[in-house]
């Protein structure tokens, strides 16, 4: 069985931006909610019932060829920092991390597939891919689902489809989502319109970090709301269509910013670079904001292309539990801010100063002779 340290040492491809086109759409995710019939849902089951159903389900999951030599642990076997690290890596949910005995997480070796047992539902199957690849993620998860339905008696109703603990997931039990980096729309102040338009289509837009309407790091998640009355394919194609549109809007917003106010964009990117390279104390909010701008700069050609991956790894590694796991002890917020700055400085050490080519290109005559 895979150990926690091994899991941590080898982040999944999708965590570090493997896809050639993950500049705007970082990741695609499909989640299926499944339950076993005539057994209380985890939230209503007694502890003993939960433990019993867990052992059946865990055996069925571990038997899957996709889960060969997987990471498989009861939540009670993990420390609170370890659980939090899994949350920060999107491998388990916050709700699952709060659970202990009678709940388990199983993650395949490449971390493209994770199964939460006894979260809100008996099973939450999840598949994540780099870039905009909802279809691929759906194919993998369906392959697993088809094997499981032969072994388990799913709670299913002809009229209401897959039955879930919460009626908001009933039907397909499917939640499809993508994580998008939208600094262009935020800086040009068009993000509100986009969020409104997407909302009108029955899809939800949420910030990944931060609370309420404020989204740190310009990162957003778009997902379907409705799970009943629409086929899986319809849900996925509708979402994919909307995501492509938002991606195009973001691309246009970036082009427009460079055209309208190249100095402002250059200033933002270069300042972010300077700040991250020389800060000794940096909190989460400041780090996310500036990493987002360096990431934007990488997409605009100011930094080498691989800087995108560098930013994506950093976004994950500077989160609180990752920092504490790195330090091998609990850290106060002040200690975290210092360690965060240290890690960022060392990772960006060899990053060259930004090349702001778009200013020279727009107005070549204005450039003073060398």
């Amino acid at each position: 069985m895979m150990r926690f340290s091994t899991l941590l040492k080898h982040p999944a491809d999708w965590m570090t931006g493997a896809d050639s086109d993950s500049a705007v759409v970082l990741t695609s995710r499909i989640r299926l909610a499944r339950n076993v019939s005539d057994t209380p849902f985890p939230g209503w089951a007694r502890k003993q019932e939960r433990i019993e159903i867990l052992s059946d389900l865990r055996a069925a999951i571990e038997e899957l060829p996709e889960m060969k030599a997987a990471f498989s642990h009861q939540l009670s076997e993990l420390s609170s920092v370890q659980k939090q690290v899994l949350v920060e890596r999107h491998l388990i949910s916050r709700e699952q991390a709060a659970r202990s005995e009678g709940s388990a997480a199983v993650v395949n070796r490449t971390q493209t597939l994770s199964v939460m047992i006894n979260e809100e539902d008996h099973l939450r199957l999840q598949s994540i891919r780099s870039g905009l690849h909802l279809q691929e993620a759906y194919e993998l998860i369906t392959k697993v689902d088809e094997q499981l339905e032969k072994k388990l008696t799913y709670a299913f109703d002809q009229e209401l489809g897959y039955l879930t603990a919460c009626p908001t997931n009933v039907g397909t039990g499917l939640r499809a989502s993508a994580m998008l980096h939208l600094p262009g729309l935020v800086i040009s102040d068009h993000i509100g319109q986009v969020i409104q338009a997407v909302g009108k289509l029955g899809l939800a837009v949420r910030g990944i970090f931060g609370e309420g309407t404020e989204s740190l790091g310009h990162l957003f998640q778009i997902s379907n709301q409705s799970t009943l009355g629409e086929s899986e394919q319809d849900i996925i194609s509708r979402l994919e269509r909307v995501i492509r549109k938002v991606r195009d809007h973001e691309r246009n917003a970036r082009l427009k910013l460079v055209e309208d106010d190249p100095q402002m964009i250059a200033d933002k990117i270069a300042r972010a670079y300077g700040l991250l390279r020389y800060a000794y104390v940096i909190d989460s909010k400041e780090a996310l904001t500036h990493l987002s701008l360096v990431r934007l700069g990488a997409d605009m050609g100011c930094f080498p292309k691989e800087t995108l991956q560098l930013c994506d790894s950093l976004l994950m590694d500077i989160e609180p539990a990752h920092l504490q796991h790195h330090a091998k002890r609990k850290l106060s917020p002040e200690e975290r801010d210092t360690l965060r700055a240290e890690i960022i400085r060392s990772r960006l050490q060899s990053l060259p100063t930004p090349v702001i080519s778009f200013i020279n290109h727009t107005n070549p005559e204005d450039t003073p002779p060398a």
């Binding site: 949910s93 339905e149 709670a155 489809g161 603990a165 997931n169 009943l228 009355g229």
Partner: protein, 150 residues
């Protein structure tokens, strides 16, 4: 990423439900409705009772936003369906069906169809046809029993 938080279930209030159902009944001018409010299919007053599978009461859904077990959907079907329209595109599943259940569903449809044909044959006094249909039915239900024991 954590799951989108979903919908507020605060308005899944059985009292409101009954009121809505009652006003709908009035609007449709049923007229006969009087004591005890609207009834469920099993003669149960909506929003009352506990699920025979797990003892879950409909009030618990208001508190937790979640149901107790898969049988709750059977028992509280009308209350749940009443609220699904606002949350979802439609109220009837059109997506994937688990492999075994698809067969079971088709089998059931087939049995219903054969049953009807047999009744028709009996009504027409075509006993030869009815006997053949009866044999087919017998075979199908044997197969069903065998596969459900697996």
């Amino acid at each position: 990423m954590t799951d989108p938080s979903g919908f507020l279930l605060g308005d899944m209030d059985p009292n409101k439900l009954s009121a809505k159902a009652a006003s709908a009944a009035e609007a449709s001018d049923v007229g006969k409705l009087s004591l005890g409010g609207p009834m469920g299919a099993a003669g149960r007053q909506l929003g009352t009772g506990t699920c025979p599978g797990c003892g879950f009461a409909f009030d618990d859904l208001k508190k937790t936003g979640r149901l107790g077990c898969s049988q709750c959907y059977q028992f509280f079907r009308e209350e749940i369906k009443h609220n699904l329209g606002g949350m979802h595109k439609d109220t009837c599943h059109v997506g994937r069906v688990p492999a075994g259940m698809m067969e079971a569903f088709q089998n059931k449809q087939k049995i219903d169809q054969l049953q009807q044909e047999m009744n028709g044959a009996i009504a027409n006094e075509d006993y030869e046809k009815a006997a053949a249909l009866r044999d087919q039915l017998q075979k199908l239900s044997d197969e069903n029993a065998a596969s459900s024991e697996q």
